[in-house]
């Protein structure tokens, strides 16, 4: 029978629940980091990514509405997160569209939901489902700790490549730069909220499980991007050789 963990052990358990399922290991991420994608591949990524991250404030709004009014800090965090996504500076999705346009696609194509894959639709639906149905603390664990907190490590690895290998300008890759800072804050604050409020064995175990599933969902989405758009141009065997060389 699992026991109630202290904050240190619970944090380690959350980190371990995400590790191993990290989207950094997906073939699309490996191809991206090794500079093997074309701008066309990156355009397809942007057209899909928009529909996953575009509604992030909407996901959080459902969680916000259901979060107990006794958890003022947690509610304020969710509100600040929503504000920063949408109107704190440049709207984050506008920066994603700027990158998409630099890849050769258009705002209309990016915002058109018909251009996302079935797997992306599945990830988006899972996010809505978690936001609407799970205990709000468990939802923060899934959406913020399980998904958003992965972003800095992914983009830290991918952003220099966008400049150095793909030759995008600073302005074109601003979407990635800003997420290194903002998601670092959001991910860590998410951890703080989950550590504080998941104060029963049941809640802790549900948070661990949803972190694991969230990381799995992102890995599934990123893996599908490879098979849907890249595999025909860059066979997996070629990519595995690249990975071995990098490792």
């Amino acid at each position: 029978m699992p026991e109630l963990m202290n904050h240190v052990d619970f944090r380690t358990a959350l980190e371990n629940a995400i590790k191993g399922k990290s989207a950094n290991k997906a073939p699309f991420s490996i191809a991206w980091a090794s500079g093997k994608l074309s701008r066309e591949h990156l355009a397809r990524w942007a057209e899909n990514h928009y529909h996953y991250v575009g509604p992030f404030a909407d996901y959080l709004a459902y969680v916000y509405a259901r979060m107990s009014d006794r958890f003022t800090e947690a509610k304020d965090f969710l509100l600040a997160n929503m504000y920063e996504e949408e109107i704190g500076g440049d709207r984050h999705t506008d920066l994603l569209i700027r990158f998409a346009e630099a890849c050769g696609t258009t705002r209309e194509r990016v915002t058109d939901p018909d251009n996302m894959s079935a797997t992306t639709r599945g990830l988006q639906s899972w996010c809505y489902s978690v936001a609407m149905r799970e205990d709000p603390i468990v939802a923060v664990a899934g959406l913020v700790v399980g998904l958003e907190s992965q972003v800095p490590s992914i983009y830290r690895r991918q952003t220099p490549t966008l400049r150095d290998k793909y030759k995008f300008t600073d302005e074109e890759v601003e979407f990635f730069d800003l997420h290194i800072v903002s998601d670092e804050i959001h991910g860590e604050r998410g951890y703080q909220i989950v550590l504080e409020h998941a104060n029963t064995v049941d809640l802790q175990q549900r948070c661990l499980k949803i972190c694991e599933i969230g990381a799995q969902m992102r890995l599934l989405y990123t893996t599908a991007l490879y098979w849907d758009y890249v595999a025909k141009d860059l066979p997996i065997e070629q990519l595995e050789m690249t990975e071995r060389k990098v490792a």
């Binding site: 569209i97 700027r98 300008t169 804050i185």
Partner: protein
Amino acid sequence: MPTVILHRDGQAYRGEIAENTNLVVKAGIRQFPYPNLRYGCGMGKCAKCACRVLTGGEHLPEPNWKEKQRLGPRLEQGYRLLCQLWLSHDIEIEQDKVPLEPLKPEPAQGETR
């Protein structure tokens, strides 16, 4: 561990940070220099986090494109945007009482809005 001294409103706040730390991220997660550092968007746009570097500026990287765009001539007066800096050395900074007004950028090439 690098030491940071932040001067604001006549007070000095001192703290130690891990290597490669962004002070806006630290304040955002409610650790030193929270609540004494003013910051805003965290994306190099609003300039609310701008500070004048008093000592330790020689260890900082060259200003990036956002700092050049938003601070312009203020860079020569020692101002930097803390949200754009990852610190690994001791530094002493001062934040003005009144936030800087960021310069308006030229529209980026290919920008649609």
